[in-house]
Structure formats: structure tokens, C-alpha cells
Symmetry: C2
Subunit: 421 residues, 2 copies
């Protein structure tokens, strides 16, 4: 981060402080409001804490402790001009650098440009802190067709996902040449980032689909408490965590030897929009729900154990001899013990997208997972789940997409530099 | 609040504290996470601060300082049995009492009931603080048809809203016999509340439409900073504020003399889902945008003044003699100076509902406003705006609904008690 950038962060924090200060002298009810901003805005030291470093070996937004809010967008590239696309990637990277540091897009900002010109930033995050914003880019299989001469650079792991049993996919919620995942502790900050990137892409890319999420339905660090999904269960307990560097090396980060040197330090992202039939789930007994998941609902302990982080014992049987963690339970089928060691890093979010037109809420899990080789990890896992998981009765996969997530960006570099050079 | 309730609040806070503590020892990036929960969970005293009192002369969620997140649902009553509906209103009120106090729905809670029975609470808010949750009910015009014998109790102010110029209403996003507005500083808490109320209504009500919102697009208290809407402008500067008790009495709270004694202390809620064409807006110059709104984008000052809370001068002219706040600007047309003194209390939220299928984000403002007599306040205001406001070029009203919001509930009472007795 340059000195100039740091100054700008503080400027935004100062705006934030005014607001937070006002909230503090307010009523009890007001005191909870904008707490994230407060943490981000209290002092320069604390402000810096809410900035996640953009540069690095890997992109941020993968092992970064999961933020509270998501805005995810999949885009189609509407030009056939490779140079325009590369130029956009450079522009996007500069914008991402600035926004993740808590600054406006472009130097004029939201109000500092010429009055006769459209502002370079749209302004709705003007008073908000960086809020741990991360921006993560991915490239879909369709980008590697004949438009941009990238066919030979398509990683073998970037397969067209197979159709799984019971898939009911809506093409309007799947695919995409490019994706951008924005995660932040303030939804307005995530939405602002995606909106401004979409805007910069005008004439080169168009929105294909987009998804908002909340209540991070996973944890990716031992420093985080485990959140709950809309089935009311803790989600992320046995996720791959940032601290497990060996597992990350084996199961999350691609290497040059995997086939495509430009992907070294990158990963593969699977996105699945999964509708959850919460009304039916809610009529299932507590015991039934716990048997389907394979864990207790309160503590989140594996059945047969008492504490959340106890290691599941998949062999232990009950009085009648039947296994305590049932054969068709979700955690048994998804566990590495059942899948030749295959694991994934989950990073999903809960969603409610209005109602379904027949009297119910349209609720579910926007499943996001990173793995080193989707063919060997996500695919066999989802095959097992979609054919045997008792939970499938309550689920419907309605959207699907797959992206190659390139490695992190060096200072002065740009998103996908290795792919395009 | 009873002693038993207080204990339960603390129990939930204790769950929250464990999580928050864990986050605190985490990395810098993790420290911003769950900050609202932290504020709510730090100590019993602070925990109490995140609880908004449910009982009172007026329902909470009107003048309550606007919380960060919204889940709004409109329901159809599917039974013709008046007693069932009244029973549900009692059940809902008990549930609302408990949830706004940070407790689970029903005494068994999410995991404390019989294992062979479905849990009474769905569980996803188990570890979360009350987060300033408010739940506010309203009754739509259609409830006063011949099904429940309520025709003579329909307030004259609860009109079927007229079709305004340029309305492009989607019937699937409008109307409803009953609405419930959930506002909280954690989206999962708002969603949990609506989901559990919907669940309790099974067989009596069904979801007609529902809307999520974020980034409170208004402020209702002088203790709050003014947030920004998706046009990047501060929104709520000249809103009616909780501190203006005289204005509230004149313009927000209905009285017995207004015609229906059961509405004394209540209000009328207008909901409008307004799509904002952000792509076109973003191509407008800064000066153009400011002229359309009638305020500056940075400080939010009225044109011709310098600070946000300066009083607009609608007469002051520029060098060329033209008015600084243009005739077709939003704030001029919406101001009480232009509307025979009529004002409204705005309480809207920003939304992004995925994408529109033709390359754009589906973004906008979910406009919520409370007034004492919609015929004399919202209707003339929206007539003026829909026919003359320069901003209309960038807006599309896609959903519309109107509700009579009954007064607050006394201890032991229930939502709509006055209407049904
Ligand atoms: C809406 C759909 C889903 C729900 C509600 C759900 C819920 C859960 C829950 C409650 C757990 C236990 C806690 C934990 O260890 O995180 C879990 C574990 C897990 N889930 Fe899911 N899940 C869903 C979909 C999926 C999908 C599509 C996959 C991958 C194809 C998956 C992979 C896993 C894995 C790998 C684990 C850890 C298993 C272990 O090692 O114990 N889940 N899930
Ligand atoms: C997406 C649509 C809308 C946007 C983006 C918008 C934006 C704004 C902005 C930026 C302000 C100035 C700051 C303030 O005093 O709050 C404002 C003021 C106001 N708006 Fe809107 N507004 C919208 C729709 C409406 C509608 C539908 C109504 C009512 C029919 C309305 C009524 C008002 C009122 C009463 C004021 C205060 C005017 C004054 O006294 O100065 N707005 N709005």
C-alpha cells in the first residue's frame, strides 16, 4: 500500500467516525447500529485492521476469514477483442486495489471530478470503512473457447461440470465467462464494489447473473465462531481452515505441475445455488434432522460425541447395533474418510431471494467451494451426496458454475496476468 | 420484560460472547466480523442495549432508529375462519415478544423440545444477539373484505392506492392482507424472525411476496448519521425524526378522531419497490445528478447552502436568475413547502435482487413510509413526483402496497387486538 493510499483510507475513516460518533451518543437501540463501521473507523490502527491486503501469493477471499456479506456476479464478455479484455482486467485490478483499501474507484472519486463529467465512483460507500472487503476473480470454461485464443491455456481441471442426479438447473443462474466474488462485513460495501466493477466493464462485459448472501454459512479460520445455515445447524465445523497450511497445499492451491503454470497458487471455485425447502425441513423431528446431518443441532457435535470439534467416529454403533452417524447422513458422505481423502474449502452464504410464488420464501444456501482439482474433489463428493444424501430430499440445486481462480496479484500486476501473457 | 426473559437473553448472549471472543483473538481481518454481535454480547448491560422494547403506545420499528437490515413479508390469509386468524395473531405476538427479546420462538426453543418432535424454533439465530430486532405488523385493504366481518372497521385512510403516472406495477410484488416488517442489525436475525412467523402461520397465511433490504436508506433519529442510497446521495436528511414529537403527532400517528378508534396510535405504511436504473444514472454528470436531487452529493447540502442540515432556500437564484434548486428537482417537489405542509416518515432500504436478465443488476430502493393519512400525505407527494420529478427518468415503480399499522401492544395484549374485539 502506498502512502497516498493510506491517507485516503484515513479520509474515509474520518467520514465513518463522524457517523459512528453520532450513533454512540444515541439511544440504546441506536448503539448497535453501524458497529462494523465503528470497529473500522475508531482509530487509524483499528481502521487498518478492517483492510484485507489485496496483493499476495494467493487472491484474498479464499482463506480470508469469511466476512458477513456476499455479492457475487458472473459476467459474459461481450467483445471479441482480446486487447479490450486485457485492458479491462488492468482497470479492474486498479479499482479492486483501491476499493479493498477503502478508497473510491478512480482518482476523482465520487465528488472530486469535474462537475460536468459523471463521477468516477458511484458514491454509495463514501462514508463507509473498507469493511474487510475482498475481491476475487475467476475465469469460466467458456472464456477458453476460440474468441481470445485461450484454448490451449484451459486447465484440465476446469471441466464443464457434469449434470448430477436431481439437478434442476436454471441456465439463467449458471455459467459465466468471468466471476467476481465480493465479500465484506457491510453489504453496501460489497454491492458498491461489484456495481463499480460492472460499470467499468460496460461495453466489454455484461452481467449474466448475480447473487447476494448473508450470515456467512461457513468459517475458514480457527479464529472464527461457526455460523449457522438456514437448516439451523452449525456449518463449517470441519471445513478446511486457513491454519491448516498442509491441507491447503494438498487440497486447495493448484501448482504448475498440475498442468497450467499460470494457475500456480490459484484454485478452482464451484458455485451452486441450492434452494432449501425450509418448510418441509421444519416439519422434521429434531432427531430426524440430526440423523440427516450426522451432528447435533445445539452444539454441532458429531453424533456419539459431545463437543463441536470432537472427531467424528463413523464406526461407533448404538444399542441396537446401527451406526450412530447414519450411512446416508450428510457428514458421513461428505467426509474425507469416505472420499479417499478428498476435501474442499467451503465459503458459502445463506440467501433469501423473495418468495417462490406459491406461498413460501425462496431460501437456501449459495454454496461456494474452492479446491485444487474439481474432478477429484468436488465432483466425487457431489456424486456421493446427490445420489445418497438423505438431505437431498430437502434440497434443489438451481444454479451451477465453475471457475479457474488465478493466483494472487503482485504489486503492479493485474488479475489474470499469467493467463494473458 | 420478566425475570425469566432476562435470563434467556443472557443465555443467548453467552453463546454470542464465545463467538465474539474467538473473533477477537483472530487476525486483523477477523476482528471486524460479527461486530454487531460483539456490541450486543459484550456484557449484560450492553446486551440489553441491543433489545428494542416490544410493548408501547406505538409499535416499534417506526420511529426506532433505522436498523441496518430489513426482511419484509406480505401474506395472504388463506382461511375464512376469523377465530383461526385471531388465534394466529395471538401466537405471532407471543413469538414477536420473545424474538425481539433475543429468545427463541416457543419454550422448547431450537433444541430443548422432545427429540421426536420438530423443534419449535428453526435455530439459525441460536448464537446471535437480539440485534435491535423490531417486528411491525400491518393490515392491507383486502383484509377488510367480507371474509372476516371487518368491512365497517376499514379506515377511510386505508385506500386502494391510485395508479400513478409511469407506474409499472408487478402484481406479484404488491398487495397483501397482512404485512410484517422485520428490521435488525443482523440480516440473519431479521430473516429468522420472518421465517418463524411464516412457519407459525402455516394453514392460516401464505407468503405473497417478500423483500430483503440493506444499508438502511434513511435515518429516523438525530442520533444517526445519514446513510446513502444507490444513487450515491445521502438519504433521510430532511426526514421526520423521532425527536420531532410535534411533527409525529401531526403527521405520523393516527388518532381516534381520524375515524377508527382501533387505529389510535397507529399509522399507515406505504411500500413501493422502486427499481433504480443505476447504469443510466451513472452516466449523468455530477452537476446533473445534483440538480435532479436538489442537493450536493458530497455533503448532502441543499443547493446554494454548504452543510447537510442547512435549511433549503427554494427561492434563491443563480447568476442567470434561474433557481438553484430546480423546479423539477426531487427535494423541491417532495418538500412540505411545496405540499401544503404534508410530510412523511421514510424508512426505506436499498436492495439488489440479482440481475435483470439483460445485463444489469436489479437494484433499487424498497421505499417504506409511514404517515397519518395516506390520502393527504403520500398520495399528493407521489402525484407531484411521478408527474414532475426529473428523477423519474431513472426510476421504475415495480411494486406497491398499503397497510394500516395498528397501535402498539400492551403487556398481555396482541397485534390488532383493537380491530378484532
Ligand atoms: C444446502 C446444502 C447444504 C447444507 C445445508 C449443508 C450443511 C452441512 C452441515 C450442517 C455440515 C456439518 C458441519 C460442518 O462440518 O461444516 C456440513 C458438512 C459438510 N458439507 Fe455440507 N451442506 C450442504 C451442501 C453441501 C455440498 C453441496 C457439499 C459438497 C459437494 C458439501 C460438503 C460438505 C463437507 C465436505 C462437509 C464436512 C464433512 C466432514 O468432514 O465432516 N455440503 N454440511
Ligand atoms: C428510488 C427513489 C428515490 C430516491 C433515490 C430518493 C432520494 C432522495 C434524496 C437523495 C433525498 C434528499 C435527502 C433527504 O432529505 O432525505 C430525498 C428527499 C425526500 N424524498 Fe426521496 N427518493 C426516492 C423516492 C421518494 C418517494 C417515492 C417519495 C415519496 C412519495 C420521496 C419523498 C421524499 C421526501 C419527502 C424527501 C424530503 C424532501 C425535503 O423536505 O427536503 N422520495 N429523496
Amino acid at each position: 500500500m502506498t502512502g497516498a493510499e493510506r491517507t485516503s483510507v484515513s479520509r474515509r475513516k474520518l467520514f465513518g467516525m463522524a457517523g459512528a460518533g453520532a450513533a454512540l451518543v444515541g439511544t440504546g437501540a441506536a448503539a448497535g447500529i453501524g458497529a462494523n463501521r465503528l470497529l473500522g473507523g475508531d482509530s487509524p490502527a483499528q481502521a487498518a485492521q478492517s483492510v484485507v491486503e489485496f496483493h499476495g501469493e494467493h487472491q484474498a477471499g479464499i482463506v480470508t476469514p469469511v466476512q458477513e456479506n456476499l455479492h457475487f456476479v458472473a459476467l459474459d464478455v461481450t467483445t471479441k477483442d482480446r486487447e479490450k479484455l486485457v485492458k479491462l482486467l488492468r482497470t479492474w485490478t486498479d479499482a479492486a486495489r483501491r476499493m479493498t483499501a477503502g478508497q473510491e474507484v478512480g482518482t476523482g472519486g465520487a465528488v472530486g471530478g469535474a462537475p460536468a463529467a459523471p463521477p468516477s465512483d458511484t458514491g454509495e460507500a463514501l462514508d463507509l470503512a473498507a469493511s474487510s472487503l475482498t475481491l476475487t476473480i475467476g475465469f469460466g470454461p467458456s472464456l477458453f473457447d476460440d474468441r481470445f485464443g485461450l484454448a490451449s491455456k484451459r486447465p484440465a481441471a476446469l471441466i464443464d461440470l457434469p449434470l448430477f442426479p436431481q439437478d434442476k438447473l436454471d441456465p439463467a443462474r449458471g455459467g459465466g465467462d468471468v466471476c467476481i466474488q465480493a465479500c465484506a462485513d457491510d453489504p453496501q460495501v460489497a454491492v458498491h464494489a461489484i456495481r463499480n466493477l460492472v460499470r467499468l466493464g460496460f461495453g466489454v462485459t455484461a452481467v449474466r447473473w448475480s447473487q447476494l448472501g448473508f450470515g456467512r454459512s461457513s468459517s475458514t479460520s480457527r479464529s472464527q465462531s461457526t455460523p449457522r445455515n438456514l437448516f439451523g445447524f452449525k456449518d463449517g465445523t470441519r471445513n478446511v481452515k486457513a491454519e491448516e497450511t498442509d491441507v491447503l497445499r494438498d487440497q486447495v492451491w493448484a501448482t504448475a505441475e498440475d498442468g497450467q503454470p499460470w494457475m500456480a497458487g490459484g484454485s478452482y471455485l464451484v458455485a451452486r445455488r441450492i434452494r432449501m425447502h425450509i418448510e418441509t425441513w421444519d416439519r422434521e423431528s429434531l432427531k430426524g434432522q440430526e440423523g440427516i446431518v450426522g451432528r447435533t443441532k445445539g452444539a454441532g457435535a458429531p453424533l456419539g460425541q459431545t463437543a463441536e470439534f470432537d472427531t467424528p467416529d463413523f464406526q461407533v454403533g448404538g444399542a441396537g447395533g446401527e451406526k450412530l452417524i447414519p450411512d446416508d447422513s450428510h457428514v458421513r458422505l461428505a467426509s474425507h474418510e469416505n472420499l479417499n481423502g478428498a476435501r474442499i474449502l467451503r465459503r458459502g452464504y445463506n440467501f433469501v431471494d423473495g418468495s417462490d410464488g406459491v406461498g413460501h420464501l425462496e431460501a437456501g444456501l449459495f454454496f461456494l467451494a474452492f479446491n485444487r482439482d474439481t474432478r477429484k474433489q468436488f465432483v466425487p463428493m457431489q456424486q456421493a451426496l446427490s445420489s445418497k444424501d438423505a438431505m437431498m430430499e430437502y434440497l434443489q440445486h438451481t444454479g451451477s458454475a465453475h471457475f479457474a481462480v488465478p493466483p494472487g496479484v503482485r504489486e503492479g500486476g493485474f488479475w489474470g496476468e499469467g493467463l494473458f501473457s
